[in-house]
């Protein structure tokens, strides 16, 4: 993947691990909760109903114990290849609260998995879902162009 430009919102990393392991780490709660969230945070809640239309509910707890919940549902589940799910901040019961006024209520998060010479490249991209009328990625591309000219 190319060096991300300003405004581009896809993040990639190549891991020295087999693809099967990465897939597990993303789709099985006991593994997911071990790494999701910033350094020093924990993920006390992690429910994953891995099928199209199935819900996820996970939380991040900061070192001082404050919890933030995220929920959404899976739109695509292609084993060992691709996950697409919606994501929104929520309360502890999984009632979506949106990402803030004026933003789409749910974001679409796309995660792709690729074999690369015995390693695995994972790419996460984030965009507004249909409610936004367009993907954010497009907006970011334009944003980068405008910034370059300003």
């Amino acid at each position: 993947m190319n060096q991300p430009e300003i405004g581009q919102i896809a993040v990639s990393r190549t891991f020295d691990a087999p693809l099967e392991l990465l897939w597990k780490a993303w789709t099985e709660p006991e593994h997911f909760m071990k790494w999701y969230g910033p350094q020093g945070f924990t993920a006390p809640t992690c429910e994953i109903d891995l099928r199209v239309g199935g819900r996820h509910l996970w939380s991040m707890a900061s070192p001082d114990g404050r919890q933030m919940y995220f929920t959404g549902s899976y739109k695509e589940v292609v084993p060992m290849e691709r996950l697409v799910f919606t994501d929104s901040m929520s309360d502890a019961d999984g009632n979506a609260m949106g990402m803030g006024e004026g933003m789409p209520k749910f974001m679409d998060v796309t995660v792709t998995f690729e074999h690369v010479d015995g390693k695995t490249t994972v790419t996460v991209s984030h965009m507004g879902s249909e409610q936004a009328g367009m993907g954010w990625e497009q907006a970011f591309d334009k944003l980068a162009a405008v910034l370059a000219n300003a």
Partner: protein, 114 residues
């Protein structure tokens, strides 16, 4: 920067016409009449877009009643780009932890296999 300002920036940028307006203003100040020309849009329609951009702080309008040139303000755009950078940072941190955790997973698998 508050989330609300950021929301205004992003919803203002979500419209292709408004992005074109911004791109044109990146070249210099323009009046509503000048802006309306290439878009085959009525002046009230252009004014409406300008109001959205103004509310998001992406442009400022001159004071002269007739002319009121619109001028690009780059700061909110930069802040929006910073927000994207924060998001990227968030995933980089998650990936660092995932990388460390994968090693644990691999060791566990070896143990249970051996």
């Amino acid at each position: 920067m508050t989330t609300d300002t950021l929301s205004l920036t992003f919803s203002a940028l979500a419209d292709p016409t408004r992005r074109q307006i911004l791109a044109r203003l990146a070249q210099g100040e323009l009046s509503v009449t000048q802006l309306a020309k290439p878009f085959k849009m009525t002046m009230p329609a252009v004014s409406k877009h300008l109001k959205v951009l103004e509310r998001a702080g992406l442009i400022v309008r001159g004071r002269e009643a007739q002319w009121r040139p619109a001028k690009l303000q780059a700061a909110p755009l930069r802040e929006a780009a910073d927000w994207v950078e924060q998001y990227r940072q968030h995933w980089e941190e998650n990936f660092d932890r995932l990388d460390a955790y994968l090693k644990t997973m691999q060791e566990d698998e070896k143990e249970s296999a051996g």
